[in-house]
Amino acid sequence: MESKTGKVKNLSRRSFLKFFGGASLAGVSLNLAGCGQPITAEKAVGGNGWMPTQYNEPGSWPTNVRGRVPIDPANPSIIRDDQKCILCGQCIEVCEKIQSVFGNYELPIKSEIVCVNCGQCIQWCPSGAISERDDINKVLKAIADPNITVVVQTAPATRIGLGEEFGMPIGTNVQGKQVAALRKLGFDVIFDTNFTADLTIMEEGTELVKRVKGELHHPTPQFTSCCPGWVKFVEYFYPDLIPNLSTAKSPQQMEGTLMKTYYAEKQNVDPKKIFSVAIMPCTAKKFECQRPEMTSARKELNDSNVTPDVDVVLTTKELARMIKRAGIDFTSLPDDEYDQLMGTGTGAGAIFGTTGGVMEAAARSAYYLITGQQPPASLWELTPVRGMEGVKEAAVNIPGFGSVKVAVISGLANARKVMDQIRAGNAPWVFIEVMACPGGCQYGGGQPRASSPPSDEVRNRRAASLYKIDTNAKLRNSHDNPQIKQVYADFLTAPMSEKAEELLHTHYISRAEALVAKKSERNLY
């Protein structure tokens, strides 16, 4: 210590000044040498990331595809994980070009993000950023409650899609395995939406006949109303054509209503304790079940404790996730049967799952409703309405009635063209089937994603599987379904009876206030 302190040199005033003088001179010379130059763009923080090439053009040239669709965080059907979004622009492409929703309203927006909930953006999103809103936990909670009877229905198209999630070939019919899986998951009662598809045909077909005969003060052409995306599209963009929509509810909502009324009455179950689940290929169904009109059971029973007709909608993909989470080996499940009362559907009900199917089913039963005779075999294979074309036309000959012109549309941009034609008073058709998603429900927003981008090849294979179900069915006409006959005999009396009107029909609201529809054909903004 002492030796060290002894070595401390006293800093003289002179050496202190020398040191600082030297340091200042060094600083000034460094500055002059360029070290203090203004910073350049490259020195700025950030800017080391990545953007899709379409955005890395010089200047501000127009870009073919830009950005992404707006999705309201409160959207009941669709959610997006921003972290996964790469701004590829595919959602905008499908929403604007295929579905003609985005870009078809004027800016500024009002107080709603216009969305028909179809979920096609989910199918097109390459990074999995967009997906259906996951409602699995609501269902698990209901299943876990021993006081609640969980009744489930499965749409026509889920049985030909679900297998793909488990590595089975595209379009494999897994109807029996699906029922077995649902039973293993703990659902108490399993019904088939094909049953209410048949019921829809009875109601919608009767309505059509009445419209054509002028017994109803509703205009023709009549539009189908099974597709909630399509219905919302009409409510947004063609409110003047709402009277053309069939008042018949969709099969999902009919089944839900009957679960809480017909089934509850027959099986003596408290409707308040029924939890109604629907397995659907569709994200718009999640919106549909939340519509305030869809509480017929509550109104009918005059009991405010009865929940909506359909409590929760799960997509095919969500069901697959549930099965996987439960560790069920789906592919090795033995086939199981639907529960009866509302578990039998005809071939006509099955083909609801593809574009043209509702029309074909309706043609068979309309023939019967008008003539009182069974339809000819030609109506069991109405080829003009089959296939993946966006707009298809056919003429159905009904004796004593003449030729009935019908049209089948899938994809809302195609629907827009036809609707504009109808508005112009230039429509030869009597009945028009519209499905929002190209190809119909089998390629809905809730269906499994094929390994390839959305393509007609996949659509055709799934449709072929549905047509095969129809071909192999014992009963191919909705009006022949014994359970349909039973529900009318025991509960509803007749198609469009007062009770049927109350339970199976609905009304629509204009959503024109929510937007300013784009008038001209002007492209983009």
Binding site: R13, I39, T40, V45, G46, P58, R68, D82, I109
Partner: protein
């Protein structure tokens, strides 16, 4: 020529493409808590939705217009002042206004004093409190893109043309044209605010209702201090000369110390 961006608030549909583009291009981190916030939540946040890893935020305001409720989405980020207060307050010259428009920040020069944050009239800058070697974060207007004749990431992805990049003078003329054509509020926010900013906003709803700082001065902020701060070197050198003179005068004829 200096560049700018015109934000046409009524044209925004709230798709958030711009903020995702910002995240992608600047490699900004995602935070699970921040991610769950909606545009409505962010509009109510004290930080306006901006944090060190979020340089731009889309905030939704539910307003009344002509008796009906409307949603307006406002993009917030650095305004890139023509004469930035952050740069003038920074004694280590970590901030710089580029001739192309962007006000950029070089962390290697930053000492972390945060004078810039005090100086910013729009409360845009955010400090990386959680980092061991923190810096200040804000929109850089994609300086390298702009310097290489590309538009910023955010404007490049906007699907509705609500944000457009271009020459500031031309954008200003376009803004005034749109105000007239669409019956917007007769004000281009950013034309004169804080002495003028590169980002310009036009709207059909009052700026006051969308958390714009409408009472901000139209003087360039550095001009408040420029007059006397300019004298600093002269005062310093002058004082030194006077003191040195006094020293020499007092010690004339004396033996040096030591």
């Amino acid at each position: 020529m200096t560049n700018g961006v015109l934000v046409d608030i009524p044209k925004c549909v709230g798709c958030d493409s711009c903020s995702v583009a910002c995240k992608l291009w600047n490699e900004l981190e995602w935070d699970p808590q921040e991610k769950s916030k909606t545009a409505t939540d962010r509009a109510k946040e004290p930080n306006n939705g901006l944090w060190p890893e979020e340089w731009t935020s889309i905030n939704r305001y539910d307003l009344q217009k002509d008796g009906s409720s409307v949603w307006r989405y406002v993009k917030t980020q650095c305004f890139h002042c023509e004469d930035p207060a952050c740069a003038s307050s920074c004694f280590s010259k970590a901030f710089q206004k580029l001739p192309e428009g962007p006000v950029i920040y070089d962390q290697s020069l930053c000492v972390g004093c945060r004078y810039c944050m005090m100086a910013c009239p729009f409360d845009i800058l955010r400090y990386e409190w959680k980092k061991a070697i923190p810096g200040v974060r804000k929109c850089q207007m994609c300086a390298t893109r702009v310097a290489n004749d590309m538009e910023p990431a955010c404007t490049s992805v906007c699907p509705t043309g609500a944000i457009i990049f271009g020459d500031r003078e031309q954008l200003l003329a376009e803004a005034k044209k749109r105000i007239k054509e669409n019956g917007y509020v007769d004000r281009v926010f950013g034309e004169r605010e804080a002495g003028g900013t590169s980002w310009l906003y036009i709207s059909d709803t009052p700026f006051e209702q969308m958390r714009f700082r409408t009472d901000v001065t139209t003087m360039p902020l550095p001009s408040y201090t420029e007059g006397y701060m300019k004298a600093t070197p002269f005062v310093g050198v002058g004082w030194a000369a006077i003191l040195a003179g006094l020293y020499i005068f007092n010690n004339k004829g004396k033996e040096p110390l030591d």
